[in-house]
């Protein structure tokens, strides 16, 4: 912008010099026109800014590696007189990886309604938060810029890509028997406890009608019975930010997330309810996943959680909270070097360590003492189907 201003001033000065030398009245007219034009640009741009409404939106989710856009809509209530460009500074943050980058977008206004599609970086999965830092409206000659109102924060989730996995569940259990494990009444601990009441909808079982409550109100109220679920398997993502200092680490963690999501998918397809232990500030957050809908929800939650500070923290929390008593199988998802002492959990829970590594060229499985380590290469080949037994 300084170039435009400098150019305008230089041209103005040159015309002034030529006017003084030659005294031509036409050049005086040109000088006046240039001056008034600059003033008009400044004044009308300010006016145009008050009429502009800028909004942004993004799809709720997209898949990693595929094209994704967020859109900016600029609408002017009245005719635009001199506003020509919008300079928008947007801050994109990947919540999972903690990466932040700023982007400056120069949008050209073509009329009263403008719609822009701006590509989003979908290289890494995770929740993307877009915050508008500043919006400047520039005039046609790019001499002046006026600040405009910011649009609100928008979020979108980049889901990991699909990995071809075949998950096999082992019949053997270590620690608690299969019939044991985490019994969670999703709707309360007591099996007979009513979790929720809601209005009767045609088609509901009339035996579930809460007659007492319904007599007190004008509508039929339904009671929803508890829905006990049985969870044996827990998936624990256990990679940390300390690993992200290394090269290619983001790709490895990305691959780990993709593997984790695919495992969850496969388990749900097999109608195996499982839990996911997500790292949080206060320790581990155990999320139950029973169906596809819940998987989507928990996946979105997982992608919005920042990666834990250190790898191994998840396992430490797991052991500290003695969560092994509730499950029969622990699936640990790791990335990069993973040197954790699993002996404490031996004989108490079956452990499968899914180790995503950039160095690995092919899938490698080792087992011993109830613990199985499966090494999966980070450069996941979509042509191959990986077999995981847990």
């Amino acid at each position: 912008m300084w170039k435009n201003r400098l150019g305008y001033i230089l041209f103005f000065a040159a015309v002034m010099i030529m006017l003084v030398i030659s005294g031509k009245p036409y050049l005086l007219g040109v000088l006046i026109v240039l001056f008034l034009l600059a003033v008009a640009m400044g004044v009308f741009t300010r006016h145009d800014v008050t009429n502009l409404k800028i909004s942004a939106s993004a799809p709720s989710g997209a898949q990693e590696g595929k094209e994704n856009f967020f859109t900016i809509d600029v609408f002017a209530a009245k005719k635009i007189r001199t506003a020509g460009y919008l300079m928008i500074t947007v801050c994109e943050k990947n919540e999972m990886f903690g990466r932040t980058w700023e982007r400056k977008l120069l949008l050209r206004l073509k009329g009263e309604k403008n719609h822009y599609k701006i590509p989003l970086a979908c290289r890494l999965c995770g929740e993307i938060r877009l915050t508008c830092k500043e919006i400047w409206v520039r005039d046609l000659l790019k001499l002046f810029q006026v600040r405009a109102n910011l649009f609100g924060e928008i979020r979108t989730v980049i889901y990991p890509r699909k990995v071809n996995l075949q998950v096999e569940l082992s019949q053997a259990t270590i620690g608690a028997p299969k019939s044991e494990g985490m019994m969670q009444n999703r709707k309360g601990n007591d099996l007979s406890e009513i979790y929720d009441i809601r209005e009767y909808v045609p088609g509901d079982d009339i035996r579930s009608i809460h007659w007492k409550l319904s007599s007190k109100t004008e509508n039929l109220i339904l009671r929803e019975a508890s829905d006990p679920s049985h969870y044996n398997v827990v998936l624990l993502p256990d990679f940390g930010q300390d690993f992200m200092k290394e090269e290619q680490s983001e790709n490895v963690i990305n691959a780990a997330v993709a593997v984790g999501a695919s495992i969850g998918q496969r388990l749900i397809e097999k109608r195996v309810a499982f839990c996911m232990a997500l790292p949080s500030v206060s320790g581990l957050q155990i999320c139950e996943i029973k169906d596809r809908r819940e998987l989507q929800r928990i996946l979105a939650l997982w992608l919005a959680c920042p990666v834990a500070p250190k790898s191994g923290d998840g396992l430490q929390c797991f052991m500290m909270e003695r969560l092994e008593q509730y499950f029969t199988r622990l699936l640990i998802l790791t990335a990069g070097e993973y040197q954790q002492n699993l002996s404490g959990l031996n004989e108490r829970i079956g452990i499968t360590v899914l180790h995503i590594s950039a160095a690995a060229g092919y899938v490698n499985a080792e087992s011993g003492n109830g613990c199985e380590i499966i090494e999966i290469p980070a450069g996941i080949d979509n042509q191959e189907t990986y077999r995981i037994r847990c």
């Binding site: 005294g23 859109t71 932040t100 046609l140």
Partner: protein, 774 residues
């Protein structure tokens, strides 16, 4: 882990419409057409009548564009395709040859300088070239090719600065060559605006088009309806600026400079104008302003155009022949073998209150022995440097007799030595120039002058002496001398009024009348103003410099004596000898007495500048010291004034900036306002020299703030941080009282404490400039 990009490139995003290539190409082609139209028009006009066919020039420009397009297309496939751009140049240069191109270019420059001379009465001659039609054609085609390629590059890149430079250059060529055409300029300005309002590879928007059409219509209307000519106020401004610069360089004008309307001011001033120290006791006419053309009551110097055209290079040629019109008289004496030729005289000058624009030298100057002077054509000397010098020393050769008694020696008509022959050859050329330029009397006065002076004049034994004597007699009969002549009625010519109306005048009117009369009689003459140093004044001064005041200002005529040069002649009563006295002088040898300064061995040139201490030098030192003090005070005053102006401007802008900043702050709300407040707080703390980051070392920062500012207490910053974190991290809105706490904290931060140094105070005072861009 966060990773911030250091450089944030700007990503251009177009609206979600399909790109229509043909529209973009169309717009670019339109801009190129307008630029080409303007450029070809400028080129054609600059050649004037010698311009080749417009189809050829325009066609070559189009070829230039096409070659660039072809080159670009080929470059995508072949690495060496850049040669395509240069091919037409090679062809033209081979066909035209570099020598022809050079001749053609010289011809173009000559045309431009000639037009400039005509427009501004200049006499600049750049080259003396005469190019053939083919040479002109080659250069024209080359220029057109360059124009075409430049237009292509400009419209392709939409480089704003390059476009401005290109258009300004073309308009400047028009102005310089006096071929300014408003319509051509309109084309160029519209093209420039079009390039500025659109971007490379994009279509222009409707809003842009509306503005371009509107401004284009305005410019074309102006081109058609605004009359040509010169804006009087601009011309006046130019004159006033020139005058102001002139006064800075040379001081105020002390002479009327040939304006007979200001004749009464000739001897107005009583201040000391010059200090002159001469080795000989004799009268000298110290030449200042020289007028060659009389028009409307004002004498003007010879125009530069008189030295151009046929006379271009004449002065240079004369110099090569060792002939200098300014030192011609001294050269004449040198080449003569007369035993009674006058001796060389050293004269020192110091300019006091007189204008330093003129160097007050006699017509008999031989050389400048001290002082940074240079010659201005054949009229006078000027001082070098932006601020003219005040002292100089010369050598001159002249006798004590009046000039009208001068008769050229025999060798002038019959040169004997090689030097004399060379002198005569050069003098004959210069004489022709003098007769061509200094014998034209003013047409309006010719009848009157002829009627008054030459109607009954007998031409027997006619010569300069007899003509001059006749003029003196007539003037004695018709008019009277007065120091302050009456004001001339408006519209009347001063000379006419002098001869027919008032019958009273001072030296200026006498000299003007004499010059016109001599010219009408066929004797080359010119009008001169300056100072008259009489022999008595020199004698009375003894060893001290003679002081010439405003009362010694004088005007006289200079007549060209064939073979000798320009010599002063006077017709003002009291300044010339009567005929009887002149006749007596003819019989006696020319004796010039020397002043005491010759025998004074301690006489040094730098005495005039007061470097050695003598009784008279103390006065000189005091004068110098006074002048120096005045200058220093003047500089200090100007500096103070500038400071005051800058301060007033800064305060005005500060108030405006503070108001704008407050307006911006109040316009925001919620989290945005709190974030803004956080930035402002951080900025102000930075000015205090405290590095602060939200949530980092809060206690330590709080302690530093309390220590440095003095206005804030311990704990205030911590409280403010809590509020900021509540909104920024906790995403909770602040209550009104919490907002007031924030604002109060910011306000206290802006107040400089007692411990503040000046730099911090200034920074805090003008901090709003920094925050305005946030």
């Amino acid at each position: 882990m966060k990773e911030k990009m250091k450089e944030i490139p700007v990503q251009r995003v177009e609206s979600d419409e399909g790109k229509t290539l043909y529209k973009i190409a169309g717009w670019t082609a339109f801009l190129a057409c307008i630029l080409l139209l303007g450029g070809v028009s400028v080129l054609q006009k600059s050649w004037g009548d010698l311009a080749p066919s417009v189809w050829m020039t325009g066609g070559m420009a189009v070829v230039g564009i096409l070659i660039c397009i072809l080159g670009k297309w080929l470059q995508r496939r072949y690495a060496f395709a850049w040669i395509a751009d240069q091919l037409p140049w090679l062809i033209l240069l081979i066909w035209g040859t570099p020598v022809r191109c050079l001749n053609g270019a010289k011809e173009w420059l000559d045309l431009m300088s000639t037009r400039w001379n005509f427009a501004h009465n200049g006499g600049t001659a750049v080259f003396v070239a005469s190019a053939t039609k083919k040479e002109i054609l080659v250069v024209s085609l080359l220029a057109a090719l360059l124009l075409g390629q430049a237009v292509f590059k400009l419209t392709e890149s939409h480089s704003h600065l390059a476009g401005i430079f290109f258009c300004t250059l073309l308009i400047a060529v028009e102005v310089a060559g006096d071929t300014f055409d408003p319509i051509t300029s309109s084309f160029l300005i519209i093209a420039l605006l079009g390039m500025n309002m659109s971007d490379a590879g994009t279509m222009v928007t409707r809003t842009c088009l509306r503005w371009i059409i509107g401004i284009g219509a305005l410019l074309f209307a102006g081109a058609v309806f605004i009359p040509n000519g010169e804006v009087e106020s601009i011309r006046q401004l130019r004159e006033n600026t020139k005058q102001a610069v002139h006064e800075i360089r040379y001081g105020k004008d002390s002479l009327p400079k040939g304006d007979l309307g200001k004749a009464a001011k000739l001897k107005e001033s009583e201040a000391v104008m010059l200090e002159v120290q001469s080795e000989q006791e004799k009268s000298m006419y110290l030449r200042g302003f020289v007028g060659s053309v009389y028009e409307g009551g004002v004498w003007k110097e010879t125009e530069d155009s008189a030295y151009g055209g046929e006379n271009a290079g004449m002065l240079r040629w004369l110099k090569q022949k060792h002939f200098d019109p300014q030192t011609q008289v001294a050269t004449y004496y040198e080449l003569g073998e007369d035993e009674n030729a006058p001796e060389s005289n050293r004269v020192r000058y110091k300019i006091e209150d007189a204008s330093r624009y003129y160097v007050y030298l006699p017509s008999s100057i031989k050389e400048v022995t001290d002082g940074r002077l240079k010659e201005k054509k054949d009229i006078r000397y000027v001082s070098r440097g932006f601020i003219a010098g005040k002292g100089y020393e010369i050598e001159e050769v002249s006798g004590s007799r009046p000039s009208e008694l001068m008769v050229a020696d025999g060798w002038v008509s019959d040169p004997q030595t090689d030097a004399q022959k060379e002198y005569c050859e050069a003098e004959s050329v210069y004489r022709q120039f003098v007769y061509d330029n200094y014998t034209k009397a003013e047409a309006d006065l010719a009848d009157l002058i002829d009627e008054v002076f030459w109607k009954d004049y007998e031409t027997e034994n006619d010569g300069i002496y007899s003509a001059l004597s006749h003029i003196r007699e007539i003037l004695k009969e018709k008019v009277q001398y007065t120091d302050a002549p009456a004001a001339v009625p408006e519209g009347a010519d001063p000379v006419r009024y002098f001869l027919n109306g008032s019958h009273q005048g001072n030296a200026m009117l006498y000299a003007t009348t004499a010059v016109e009369a001599l010219r009408l009689h066929g004797i080359p003459a010119r009008y001169v103003e300056g100072y008259y140093l009489s022999g008595n004044t020199v004698a009375d001064s003894q060893d001290a410099p003679a002081l010439l005041s405003g009362k010694d200002a004088h005007a006289w005529a200079e007549v060209y004596f064939d073979g000798i040069g320009w010599l002063p002649v006077d017709v003002t009563p009291g300044y010339y000898y009567e005929a009887v006295a002149l006749q007596q002088m003819v019989g006696t040898p020319d004796m010039v007495r020397k002043t005491a300064s010759v025998n004074n061995n301690s006489f040094e040139a730098n005495q005039l500048t007061g470097e050695n201490g003598t009784a008279s030098e103390k006065q000189e030192n005091f004068r110098v010291a006074k002048k120096t003090m005045r200058i220093l005070l003047g500089i200090v005053a100007v500096f103070l004034m500038l400071l005051v102006i800058i301060f007033a401007l800064a305060e005005a802008v500060r108030v405006l900036a503070a108001w704008l900043m407050k307006k911006e702050y109040d316009r925001t709300a919620g989290e945005e306002q709190v974030r803004r407040a956080e930035l402002i707080i951080r900025g102000y703390l930075g000015l205090w020299g405290i590095e602060a980051h939200l949530g980092w070392n809060t206690e330590e920062t709080d302690r530093k703030i309390a220590e440095k500012t003095g206005t804030l207490r311990r704990g205030e910053y911590c409280r403010v941080c809590e509020l900021l974190e509540k909104t920024i991290y906790g995403e909770e809105e602040l209550e009104e009282y919490e907002k007031r706490t924030l604002n109060r904290f910011i306000k206290k931060l802006t107040v400089p404490g007692e411990k503040c140094n000046l730099k911090t105070r200034m920074n805090l005072r003008y901090a709003c400039f920094k925050f305005l861009g946030m």
